[in-house]
Amino acid sequence: MVDVQAVLDGSRLDLSRMLTQIENQTETGQAALIELFPHTGRAELIGITGAPGTGKSSLVNQLAFHYRNPKNGEAPKKVAVVAVDPSSPFTGGAVLGDRIRMTALSGDTGVFVRSMASRGSLGGLASATAGMVQAFDAAGYEIILIETVGAGQAEVDIARLADTTLVVEAPGLGDDIQAIKAGILEIADILVINKADRPGVETTERALRSMLQLAHPVQRVFHHHGQDLIVDSPQGGEIPMWIPPIQRTVATDASGLPELLGHIADHRAHLEASGDLKRRERSRLAAELDLRLQQALVHRWEESLSPGAYDQTLDRLLDRQLSPQEAVKALLNGSLK
């Protein structure tokens, strides 16, 4: 049903159908991912996250357009966009509206935009997003832009998936306490203040800047404590740590876009020079391995469980004969003969 060779040869219809299989997590889709895997690891993965209404989709539209029509004489790159919107927790349905903003890309077959519903996932991505990204990577898309659900504070899965994470803010969305809360701002490689033609942009920038100064104290503090703190970076102090730049943009008229693209390229160069790219790749694959291991182990355990054992244990739990902790032990011991 899915022709992997056709996908590798550039057939967009076959790619699209394969993406559906991957998204639905069918056996066909899983088999395709196995075949595609050797061809992955070449694309540049850029994540775009931020609160709803900050202009993520419009920014993605502009980024894709600029990669397709580079101003600096470079060759245009093939761009894929994976845009995730929330599914209804009640009906499982969804309205995916990210394409509305992506009109600048129409008529260009070098861009492939795919909308995804989150289907119950809570981290800002859908559980099949990583697989879809692998498919685009294998199909030869050089830049993959991953737009998350309009994320509030803790939807940080994107940082695990992307090489470079853009966190998009807009003026007037919160004070400086929002900026020092844990969560989404910590994952930013680049901070974007979109809608920068709106009033309040200075306040937003000031709050973000002071947050950054708290989060990234000056370099010499690290040296002051000796080598222990720099073990993470093999080159030691030669390559300074990455301090997220703050870039103002107006996505509707593309102002700030050339600078933003410059920051993305700088971050990429930094990842390569510092060895972080390899480290990110490693932790990304570790996360996928862990997830698949967990699923496989749970599945194996469920299969080994004698029928009715779960319900019986639950009944004893209900009668207070067992505590949840003891129940877990009983269920695991019963199954691991």
């Binding site: 219809l13 159908r17 559906t20 639905n24 349905g93 509305i100 009109t103 129409s106 909308s115």
Partner: protein
């Protein structure tokens, strides 16, 4: 683990800006558990066919109130065929004069839903068409 969802593109081709109907239908399909890709206003037939290709949609709902259906619909059907997507079900809403409905059916349109159609009927029809 695996789950299949009905994916429907709701688009407004042409130049009229009356998108209330399209939004009502999009919402009804969402509430019926479908995934609706809403593309917004002023879509060309090329943009709609391209969206259907990239999104691997099962069905396309077109809302046309401008009277341009005789120009737009044949073009969309032609593009879908060119792309190898003649299996995609296309349905119409908006203002389609009665005498044009047979012509639409002849073009392969799966259903025409004028003003006053209940959303339940549309949901039901799409389910039947897609799930077979």
């Amino acid at each position: 683990m695996s789950e299949e969802k009905i994916r429907v593109i709701v688009a407004k081709p042409g130049l009229d800006g009356h998108d209330r109907g399209a939004k009502v239908v999009a919402r009804a399909l969402r509430d019926a558990g479908m995934e609706v890709i809403y593309t917004g206003l002023r879509q060309t037939p090329e943009m709609i066919a391209e969206a259907a290709l990239q999104e691997d949609a099962h069905a396309i709902g077109l809302s046309i109130l401008s009277g341009a259906h005789m120009a737009i619909v044949p073009r969309i059907m032609e593009l879908l065929k060119e792309n190898g997507q003649e299996n995609v079900k296309v349905f119409l809403g908006g203002i389609i004069p009665d005498e044009d409905i047979p012509k639409m059916t002849e073009l392969g349109i799966a259903g025409v839903y004028g003003p006053g159609t209940s959303t339940e009927l549309i949901v039901e029809d799409i389910r039947k068409l897609v799930l077979g």
